[in-house]
């Protein structure tokens, strides 16, 4: 079988492209880092990852300028055709700004607003727990039902919110809420620091109705190896180099591509 090939998109200001590509490669995919102005034929790629960073300097709003970039037109088209698209952190902000997620209407329906955080205003970097919420998302098929994973966040604008009445209910009904912030036991308590940014319904990740496009604020590529986990305890390098919980999302992406 042909090795699945992922494109990791580099916008001006992206900064997580290397480790994101490494994470794709770690599950046996090929991964190319493609610049926003690439002349490559994107349709030759099996899936896309929009990594974290600071595309276009967060001008207007985080992700707003990149969402209007020509390359996003193509990615939108490829997503419609069923290819997997994973947006991490700034990548999630771009997906929300294009409206692909939540994608119920063909319009921007949500925003990733400034964090609400009693400890630190602005950019906040820490480790949190998220829970795999029952959904039809293709990226969580390798995770157990209700599985809790430790994962880092690093953003100033990660609070999922909306002004659209009834949207949240619809997202829940459609099983589009993929990840929720929770404590170590899986309780989704809507309080800092469990909910680190004040996101509605503790939402950490949302997908489109079809489940092939995921926008998530936490960084699975930063917990793709055990050695990256905090609360470090002495162990063999072999164990440290073993897959971390974030790897499962990339694994599911690969398996989905292979199953198409």
């Amino acid at each position: 079988m042909k090795k699945p090939k992922a494109a990791v998109i580099l916008f001006p200001g992206t900064n997580c492209e290397e480790e994101t590509a490494r994470s794709c490669i770690s599950v046996g995919m090929d991964a190319d880092i493609l610049r926003w102005n690439t002349k490559e034929d994107l349709s030759s790629y099996d899936g896309f990852v929009l990594p974290g960073g600071w595309s276009y300097e967060d001008r207007v709003r985080a992700g707003a300028v990149a969402s209007k970039d020509r390359i996003m037109e193509t990615i939108k088209k490829e997503a419609k055709g069923g290819k997997p698209v994973l947006g991490i952190c700034n990548g999630a902000q771009i997906l929300i700004e294009t409206g692909i997620v939540p994608g119920i209407k063909n319009d921007i329906q949500m925003a990733l607003a400034k964090n609400i955080n009693p400890l630190i205003s602005g950019y906040y970097c820490t480790w949190v727990n998220i829970k795999n919420n029952p959904s039809n998302c293709i990226f969580t098929k390798s995770l157990g039902k209700g599985e809790i994973i430790p994962i880092p966040i690093a953003h100033g604008e990660g609070r999922f919110t909306t002004k659209e009445e009834g949207l949240l209910e619809q997202l829940i009904k459609n099983s589009q809420v993929v990840f929720k912030y929770c404590d170590e036991k899986g309780e989704t308590i809507d309080k800092f620091p469990i909910n680190p940014n004040g996101s509605i319904n503790n939402i950490a990740g949302l997908c489109n109705p079809e489940g092939n496009v995921l926008a998530m604020m936490p960084h699975p590529e930063r917990c793709c190896w055990n050695r990256q986990l905090p609360g470090f305890e002495r162990k063999s390098f072999q164990e440290m180099n073993d897959p971390g919980p974030g790897r499962k999302l990339f694994q599911a992406m690969k398996e989905y591509i292979e199953g198409r």
Binding site: E19, R22, I120, C224, Q228, F232, R234, E239
Partner: protein
């Protein structure tokens, strides 16, 4: 002579009297001394043009020439078996490991951005980071971490509001720059005291990774005659004009507005793209086997960068300033010396020039990323060793290039000032209250409110993060176990009491920090921050500081050798004083990089299990001068902690060996706040979420308060009782005494009859100190 300078540009200083010359220089913002200005005419054999005058003004500034410090810095040990690149270039490099015959190096760079951060804190701190990462990348490597030792004024003092504003803006500036460019911040520290009220210290450290064969030098390569000189990055404007000279003067509040103009403007967005484009250019040069020179453009801008890159290769250079991409109409001397950020200089063979231009201008679209940004060919490397600059068809500079770059040197007089320090006579405290007070002091308290602003996770290399242990740790080479540790140190009050021991202790403590996680201290950088070197008493502090750094580095040997731990890069910052002539505490700020063969063997400071033994190495001495305990009692004291180099070395080796053999559960170095603070921090752990307490039974000849709070060198180790015998053997081998001081148990910190504090109370004090200081 070819290319004679335009006679209309000449400033006839030899015809001016001293007074007239001084007036002329002041009006033109030139800070040269009269004797220095006249020396230029001597060296050139004629009076200089205005552009040349500005060039020498920058090159002979303290910041660029190290004129006061150069001779003394020779004391520092800069060579050793693991040195790949000493301090001659923009950054130093030490050997990290060899994999399949491929030698890997760690790049180290360290500097300060003190005056800019005091005047315009956000931009000052951000451009500090911007500059230091340029120093690392221009060695051909990849930036993998940064660190930020910070010194702020007293948050409860006379200038509390300004101090808080500066501290918050500096932290925002650092995070606002490192986060977007994708560099994790994995180390640093923060001290607060009134000596920094009018002059904060903002140090920035950057660490990189490079294969030895990929190192690019900051000089024109061999046979570079006829090579193109290309500048890449932001369009030159007038920002930061005079920055190098500004760094070399005392801050005067009256000049605050004009000083602001000397601070550069950061653009981390452009830098993010510039770094990625530059890495692509490195790959292309390597692929084609092209020899190039590449240099950071920092202090004194195009002038410093182009003259040094050519002169260091043994060449001259000819520039046409009309080819420089600018964003405003500016005179030649500003084009030459402005410190516009986000720029580099390349020297490449003409057949490679189109490739460079394509990468920056088309592939990465610099002109669309930032207005006026691009890559431009601005001149040629010449065999004739002259520095020739044309602007609007006229020659504005034609000087021997070695005269431009060689700088000047002073042997400054120095004198030990009369000082009189006294030890206080304190009554024995209420120990519960005192432990909490010390933990709450911002110099001790958790720095979470600072470092949670920083991205520690980007690049995915972090193994131990800020707060989790005495040093940060990365695993930078994929599928290979080797780790790079880093830690910064310098206690300003020790420097105040004794600049020699302050500096020596900073080196020792930075090494202890690295050793406490199990890494071998392998390379040092220093940033020496002092007042006005023209004052003999201040210069004495500097001389003592350099001596202290040198002695510690030479005597705490690189493990496995009798060679020093080399000082491979560094920086000197003078004139850190206020308008009334009060200098900052003498601060030799040290960064230590450690190497650990297997990151899996590293340990953190948090107590791991109940029922293990707590052991002390390092005798408690009556050395509380400059301690936090004295400070919370309103005292300074006199007995500064001293480093017994031989014992220090033995302790460091003991800890490294014991950790390497897997015998230590957790370890913490004893520093600010002393032994009892170290144990409280081990209970809490970096995230302040520890659950296991400790019961201590300390026998000491000192009164309990002195034994608890003395900041003498030492370590606390958590050991499984079954491993104690073996650790004792290691101790014996190195001649170190291992003393049991307690065990891990319960949910409180207990010292029989003196202290009984539940973890929750420790946490409350320790986590609120810095938050309150910044609010």
């Amino acid at each position: 002579m070819q290319n004679p300078v335009d006679p209309e540009q000449i400033v006839h200083i030899s015809k001016m009297g001293d007074e007239e010359l001084l007036k002329f220089m002041k009006e033109n913002g030139i800070s040269l001394k009269i004797s220095e200005a006249r020396l230029i005419s001597n060296k050139l054999g004629r009076d200089p043009t205005l552009t040349e005058l500005y060039i020498f003004n920058s090159e002979w500034s303290e910041h660029c020439s190290y004129k006061s410090s150069k001779n003394l810095l020779k004391m520092l040990p800069t060579t050793g078996p693991n040195v790949i690149q000493g301090p001659e270039e923009d950054a130093g490099i030490i050997h990290l490991t060899t994999i399949d015959g491929e030698r890997y190096g760690v790049i180290l760079a360290h500097e300060s951005h003190n005056h800019p951060s005091q005047v315009v804190p956000y931009e000052g701190a951000a451009t500090g980071i911007g500059g230091i990462v340029r120093d690392v990348i221009c060695m051909g490597g990849r930036i993998i971490a940064s660190a930020d030792p910070l010194r702020f004024g007293d948050p409860k003092g006379k200038f509390a509001n300004r101090t808080k504003y500066i501290a918050n803006a500096v932290v925002d500036g650092i995070s606002g720059y490192t986060n977007p460019i994708g560099v994790p911040n994995l180390g640093g520290d923060a001290y607060f005291n009134s000596s920094f009220d009018d002059n904060c210290l903002v140090n920035v450290v950057s660490i990189g990774l490079v294969k030895e064969k990929d190192i690019i030098h900051s000089r024109a390569p061999e046979n570079a005659e006829g090579f193109d000189v290309i500048i890449v990055g932001k369009g030159t404007d007038n920002s930061g004009f005079g920055g190098a000279s500004f760094a070399s003067l005392v801050l005067d509040e009256e000049d605050e507005e004009s000083n602001k103009g000397a601070v550069q403007v950061p653009d981390p967005f452009l830098k993010n793209v510039l770094i990625r484009a530059t890495e692509a250019a490195f790959r292309e040069a390597k692929k084609q086997g092209i020899e190039v020179g590449f240099k950071d453009m920092g202090a004194a801008g195009i002038m410093c960068s182009t003259s040094e890159i050519a002169a260091d290769g043994g060449f001259g250079v000819k520039l046409d300033l009309d080819k420089v991409h600018t964003t405003m109409e500016i005179p030649s001397f500003i084009i030459m010396c402005a410190e516009t950020q986000e720029r580099f200089t390349w020297v490449v063979p003409p057949n490679f020039t189109p490739t460079i231009l394509k990468i920056y201008n088309e592939d990465f679209e610099l002109p669309n990323v930032a207005e006026g940004a691009r890559a431009s060919v601005i001149g040629k490397v010449t065999k004739e060793k002259q520095y020739i600059i044309k602007h609007k068809g006229k020659v504005v500079c034609n000087a021997p290039i070695d005269e431009v770059t060689s700088g000047i040197v002073y042997d400054r007089p120095y004198k030990e000032p009369k000082r009189n320090f006294k030890e206080p006579n304190l009554p024995e405290p209420d120990y519960n209250e005192m432990v909490l007070k010390v933990l709450n002091h911002p110099n001790v308290a958790s720095k979470i409110p600072i470092y949670k602003h920083y991205d520690t996770e980007v690049q995915g290399l972090a193994v131990i993060r800020p707060g989790e242990a005495d040093a940060g740790l990365m695993n930078p080479i994929e599928n290979h176990a080797v780790g790079v540790a880093l830690a910064t140190d310098s206690n300003p009050k020790y420097g105040r009491l004794d600049p020699y021991w302050g500096a020596g202790m900073a080196v020792a403590e930075a090494m202890r920090n690295v050793a406490a996680i199990g890494a071998v201290p392998s390379g040092l950088t220093d940033c020496l921050c002092y007042g006005n070197p023209e004052k003999p008493e201040v210069f004495w502090q500097f001389v003592e500081g350099v001596r202290g750094v040198a002695d510690a580095a030479k005597n705490i040997w690189l493990k496995g050798t009798e060679d020093p731990v080399p000082v491979v890069s560094g920086n000197v910052s003078f004139y850190n004083e206020n308008a009334f002539g009060k200098a900052v505490d003498p601060s030799a700020i040290i960064n230590c990089v450690g190497v650990i063969e297997d990151v899996g063997k590293a340990i953190t400071m948090k107590i791991k299990s109940e029922g293990s033994g707590l052991y002390l190495i390092g005798e408690r001495k009556d050395e509380l001068g400059g301690s936090v305990y004295y400070e919370v009692n309103g005292e300074l004291g006199a007995n500064v902690p001293k480093v017994d180099f031989e014992k220090e070395r033995a302790m460091i080796y003991t800890v490294i060996d014991a950790i390497d053999k897997g015998l230590v559960l957790s370890c913490h170095d004893i520093s600010d706040g002393g032994l009892v603070t170290a144990i409280a921090e081990m209970i809490l752990g970096g995230e302040a979420d520890g659950k296991i307490g400790a019961e201590i039974n300390l026998k000491s000849e000192l009164r309990a308060d002195k034994a608890f709070f003395s900041e003498s060198s030492g370590f606390v180790l958590e050991l499984d009782e079954k491993d104690v015998k073996e650790v004792e053997n290691i101790c014996k081998e190195h001649g170190v005494e291992l003393v049991k001081i307690g065990e891990t148990k319960g949910e409180s910190l207990v010292v029989k009859g003196l202290v009984d504090l539940p973890i929750e109370k420790l946490k409350q004090s320790w986590t609120s100190g810095v938050k309150e200081a910044l609010r």
